[in-house]
């Protein structure tokens, strides 16, 4: 599967830092509107829709992927016309020096300044995010404020490219890859039941959008399409073993547990069973080093929802450039589609 066969390039290059997912939402809205009914945007900004099924099953199944990405927010402009900012979502301050960004709705190009090594080589401590400034070239405070209003979001200025036929590099695959998978499901064959579709907001600041999306759609079952950490750089012997984390090219990850939820055992078995039947490569991940996903919010909605996360292994989450394998993407779509086609109420019995 090649990059141009997916929506991943357009989706990942769109700006959508938490709470300002507008570009992503518009892109998805335009893409799915002819394939769904009941398309609406709720008060938080979640994009909700129903994909009509064949009517053979009355299960209410929700599939969710979050539209937001980690990034930054403008917190002020200093007297020199340089922009102060804070992180939205978890970002390692060590990636900030000399970073290229896009500021605000105009996507004004900017650079995070860094004191020359000649004058700073003795400074070993990691600089805190609030000590950095973004230079957009503004000559004074007024010129900068014209381009950077308080609260404006700032994204990584990263282009999405294919490194090989199937390996791609870009920003925000977390979770635009999940969004792209969900779009594939929406555009494909109908399921036995009506599919409740949720492109959620504000996952990165605490799984906010998914909570109300679940309450609005009121599903029996929820599948969360996500990305999860892969980290395959060579390890030294004295380092903690992180090889229990996932690997690119080894298929979608069927989650047992992450930081915010334990997967429904029946759903987990169903996914494993279908993967086995169809010979779809898949992997499991250690709950160690996991983050939380929308599953944590959806599972605890209302009286409880049978929930599982199906993830794509992805390197360098929450950084300007992530790397993933489109073969995993293709297999994830295949696995989720096939499992949903077979899903029956008996899978949910405890």
């Amino acid at each position: 599967m090649a990059l141009q066969d997916t929506m991943l390039k357009q989706l990942s290059e769109a700006a959508g830092v938490s709470g300002a997912e507008d570009e992503v939402r518009q892109l998805i809205y335009d893409t799915i509107k002819d394939h769904v009914t009941d398309l609406r945007v709720d008060t938080m900004g979640n994009l909700l829709a129903v994909k009509k099924g064949t009517g053979k099953s009355s299960l209410k199944v929700m599939v969710a992927a979050h539209m937001d990405e980690v990034g930054f927010m403008v917190t002020g402009v200093d007297g020199e016309g340089l922009i102060k900012f804070a992180s939205v979502g978890g970002i390692d301050p060590r990636i900030l020096p000399a970073l290229r960004v896009h500021v605000g709705k105009d996507r004004t190009p900017g650079v995070i300044t860094w004191k020359p090594i000649h004058l700073s080589y003795k400074e070993k401590d990691v600089k805190k995010t609030d000590s950095f400034r973004i230079d957009i070239g503004a000559d004074n405070k007024g010129a900068a404020e014209g381009k950077a209003q308080l609260g404006d979001r700032i994204t990584f200025a990263s282009e999405t490219i294919a490194l090989t036929d199937n390996i791609v590099r870009g920003k925000a695959f977390d979770d635009r890859a999940g969004c792209a998978e969900l779009i594939e499901l929406v555009k494909g064959d109908p399921f036995p039941f009506d599919l409740l579709v949720a492109f959620t907001v504000q996952e990165e600041i605490g799984l906010r959008g998914a909570k109300v999306a679940a309450q609005a759609l009121n599903p029996d079952v929820a599948i969360v399409l996500e990305t999860t950490a892969a980290h395959e750089v060579p390890q030294d012997e004295d380092e903690p073993d992180i090889t229990t984390v996932t690997k690119l090219g080894h298929g979608p990850v069927i989650t047992y547990m992450d930081k915010a939820s334990i997967a429904h055992p029946g759903l987990r078995k169903a996914f494993v069973r279908v993967a086995g039947q169809l010979g779809i490569p898949h992997q499991f991940r250690s709950p160690q080093y996991a983050g939380g996903t929308d599953a944590g919010a959806i599972q605890t909605s209302m009286a409880g929802v049978a929930t599982i996360t199906i993830s794509l292994p992805c390197r360098y989450l929450h950084s300007p450039y992530l790397i993933l394998d489109l073969n995993d993407f293709q297999n994830a779509v295949k696995l989720v589609r096939a499992t949903l086609m077979q899903l029956s109420p008996s899978d949910l019995e405890r």
Partner: protein, 367 residues
């Protein structure tokens, strides 16, 4: 000439220390319209000669800006990942999550310096320290066998950093140090195109400044100029670089004073700036300037040398930022100075005993 486009092209070329050929070839094409002859010396510096109109033997002025950029090498290859080593001058604290280019014998590969996701960084020593070179790995997104077949230890590595335009006619990118000054030399040649000058002009794009000022030393020895102007970037004011001793964007030309630099030549440049009603920013150097001026000054029997600069922010990063107008002003100043050079200039700046011709002394003291 479109100075901004010229600069952007220049900075995007690959030319770390000792591997300047792409820059040299480009400059040879660009400068062909301005100069009469080219030479390439044993170090790889490009020496271009624009003949003056004075009677032979004509005097020579050398303009020297270095075309090399700071670069890296592949130091280790393991399971498809690369470790890097610095040739000289790279700040490893900025490398996490940045893009690099690996220049292999079969072509250029795109690399990413692996960052550590917050989800697992706690297990990897946290985020309290910048990584050392040994902790940095480059991910090419290629199978390990392919990496092993294509990449060799010692392949050169540069930052993958296309030039971007910022507001206010500023450009950010890699290798502004010192291609912004190479562009200033181009601007000077462009100004001289329609002007008459007596002296021969030797425009030198030097190699290997960022290893030890080597290219300029060899070029100066070969050219034997009567005067030299070295050009290099100056620290511009920015966060962490504050104070009156640093110029701001818009402050060019920056001129250096101190023992490495010749007061008489400086006065000539300052007088020219006055004629042009151009302000200059003066930087003081008590000893070494860390520029090509340091090696040119002591070539042969000594060469009166000046240092002109362009203010740059974020020096030695892939977002070195310059103001286009600063580059143009340095080019214009040099061109005007060269146009004004007469055969007597060397005489004027030479040391004379206290009881020498009173008239000369009076002129010399005239501020």
């Amino acid at each position: 000439m479109d100075l901004k486009e010229h600069l952007k092209t220049l900075t995007e070329l690959t030319g770390p220390q000792g591997h300047e050929e792409a820059v040299r070839h480009y400059l040879r094409e660009q400068w062909a319209a301005y100069v009469d002859e080219f030479e390439v010396d044993g170090f790889g510096s490009l020496i271009s000669i624009k003949r003056g109109t004075g009677p032979e033997p004509r005097k020579k002025i050398m303009l020297c800006a270095h075309m090399d950029e700071i670069g890296m090498l592949v130091a280790d290859i393991r399971n498809g990942y690369l470790r890097l080593s610095d040739i000289w001058g790279i700040d490893e604290r900025i490398l996490l999550g940045k893009l690099v280019l690996i220049h292999t014998r079969g072509g250029t590969l795109k690399g990413l310096v692996a960052s550590v996701p917050p989800h697992i960084s706690n297990a990897k020593g946290g985020t309290d320290a910048y990584p050392d070179w040994e902790e940095l790995w480059v991910d090419l997104g290629l199978p390990a066998e392919e990496v092993a077949a294509k990449v060799r230890i010692g392949d050169i590595v540069t930052m993958d950093a296309p030039a971007i335009e910022l507001m206010g006619d500023k450009v950010a990118g890699k290798a502004m140090d010192d291609r912004a000054c190479v562009a200033a030399v181009t601007a000077c040649l462009d100004y001289l195109k329609s002007r008459k000058h007596e002296w021969d002009v030797y425009a030198v794009a030097s190699a290997q400044e960022e290893t030890g000022l080597f290219g300029a030393a060899a070029a100066a020895y070969k050219v034997q100029p009567h005067l030299a102007i070295a050009l290099d970037v100056a620290f511009a004011q920015q966060p962490g670089v504050n104070g009156d001793e640093y110029p701001k964007h818009g402050g060019a030309p920056v001129i250096g004073i101190g023992p490495n630099l010749h007061d008489g030549l400086n006065k000539g440049l300052q007088d020219t700036a006055k004629q042009l009603e151009m302000s200059m920013f003066t930087e003081t150097y008590t000893g070494a300037t860390g520029t090509d001026a340091w090696s040119i000054q002591v070539s042969r029997e000594g060469i009166p040398t000046a240092l002109l600069g362009v203010p740059v922010r974020n020096m030695h990063t892939p977002i070195e930022t310059v103001l286009i107008k600063d580059i143009d002003r340095v080019g214009r100043l040099m061109a005007e100075f060269i146009v004004g050079l007469t055969d007597e200039f060397m005489d004027k700046i030479a040391w004379k005993p206290a009881d020498a011709d009173k008239g000369d002394k009076k002129n010399g003291a005239d501020k």
